[in-house]
Subunit: 151 residues, 2 copies
Amino acid sequence: MKHQEAAENLREYLKNGNHRVTPERFIVLDAALDFKEHFSADELYASMKSSKLKVSRATVYNTLDLLADCSLLTVRNFGDKMKRYESSFSKQSHDHLICINCGKIVEFTSEQVGEIYKNVCSKLGFEPVNYSFNIFAKCKNKEKCPHLNEK
Amino acid sequence: MKHQEAAENLREYLKNGNHRVTPERFIVLDAALDFKEHFSADELYASMKSSKLKVSRATVYNTLDLLADCSLLTVRNFGDKMKRYESSFSKQSHDHLICINCGKIVEFTSEQVGEIYKNVCSKLGFEPVNYSFNIFAKCKNKEKCPHLNEK
DNA sequence: ATTGCTGCAAAACGTTTGCACCTAT
DNA sequence: ATAGGTGCAAACGTTTTGCAGCAAT
């Protein structure tokens, strides 16, 4: 258990929610928090598989939902068909710019967006839950795009 | 051909891009622009089918991509697995708030978001292409959510 | 005549589900 | 003892693809 604090949070959440405290859930948590950057459920599953961590695909998917529910992971949607997850720890809140040449994801922060988010909710009479702000853009010199030839 | 101006744009785009000017493409265009609000590819296909418009599913999917490429349609992604499209005409640019109780989509406008979008791109050295700003929220009184029992 | 487009069905893809077994409570 | 979770494979829903025939150029 590399991520003690997160594990404590998870344990708490499980107990309060009539969920069982199973070893698989902590294995997935550890693997997810180890994953640098954003990952999809299947990427995590594949990575765990190759690390000989024996948790089924269904459990990985289920557990990721759970970890998102208890805010240990944040869900991201970059316009393709896969959900992405990222650790909620160790990083201030941020948004994403996706390069449409190469798929590279650049993170940026803007406090203003968070304010707009709250203002819109209060103006429309909704309780804020979450928001997603993604920018799609391309390098100004297409040829220079550092990742253009990666995929 | 109900949407003359759009059809002209499409014809232009097709000719410039080594695409053929086929009747199917204009049928899909018309149906798409007739569709109020946001729609998925399959919703449009189903609706066209029940209107006896005989265009295959593959052609609907291909044509929607094409129409998005030439900016007659705008692509939206609301965090579920389906892409949504909407007419780029007749509406000022806007963003979306999605009710997580009922799925209802509320549109709002904020000029500030557009500015942030451009600023971030120029600061990071990217050419702006597009952005998506989605707010996920819920009605303050869950019981009152007008669409809660719809699905 | 060429080559891109269409329609159809089949495949692909990420994700969810059904079910029998297991295990935390 | 009993929900709830797990693993596996099969199903799912959306989208893409392969291919033979067709039609715009």
